[in-house]
């Protein structure tokens, strides 16, 4: 059996690490619910198993196929746009209800700043 590459292991490892973070954060907050960790471990396991049957999942994990990398990039941009749109709506609703707009305001600011930094960095890299 071929040894998995570091690239293939990255997403599942980050998913499990995220689950551990959820668990630790919960324990710090006095909660013992392990559902977050269970969900993330299950997600990592599904990814690992499905990669043998799906070229798309395999490509998303090993990052070797340029077309699948492009699909991943576009999907990430779409997801980011969807989150930003939801934040804008949430911010507007917060303001309309007489609220301060927090925490949506600084999250939107972070998104805008991240975009500008990315444009500058990518522009400089050519």
């Amino acid at each position: 059996m071929r040894t998995p590459s570091a690239a293939e292991l990255t997403v599942p490892a980050v998913a499990v690490a995220g689950g551990v973070v959820y668990l630790v954060a919960g324990l710090i907050g006095g909660q013992t619910w392990v559902g977050g960790l269970v969900v993330m471990v299950a997600f990592a396991a599904v990814l690992w198993l499905v990669r043998r049957r799906s070229e798309t999942v395999k490509g998303l994990l090993d990052r070797r196929d340029e077309r699948i990398n492009t699909i991943d990039l576009k999907a990430t941009a779409f997801a980011g746009g969807a989150v930003l749109a939801a934040l804008i709506v949430a911010f507007a609703i917060s303001i309309a209800r007489g609220g301060s707009g927090a925490p949506y305001d600084w999250l939107l600011g972070l998104g805008g700043l991240a975009y500008i930094v990315a444009v500058v960095v990518l522009r400089l890299r050519g």
Binding site: E55, T56, K58, G59, R64, D65, E66, R67, I68
Partner: protein, 57 residues
Amino acid sequence: MRATRGISQAELGHALGVSRQTINSIEAGRYLPSLPLALAMGRFFGAAVEEIFHADA
């Protein structure tokens, strides 16, 4: 060009380091390969890039 040499999409994809899906998308005209991939295809078939993509147009 691939078919005339009796090479499957999966075999060509494996040789070029891409998936069978990508080869299928290139052949169907749904995906334009990058320059490095196009050049790799040229080297694989022993043909110029213009010959490969012109032949399938």
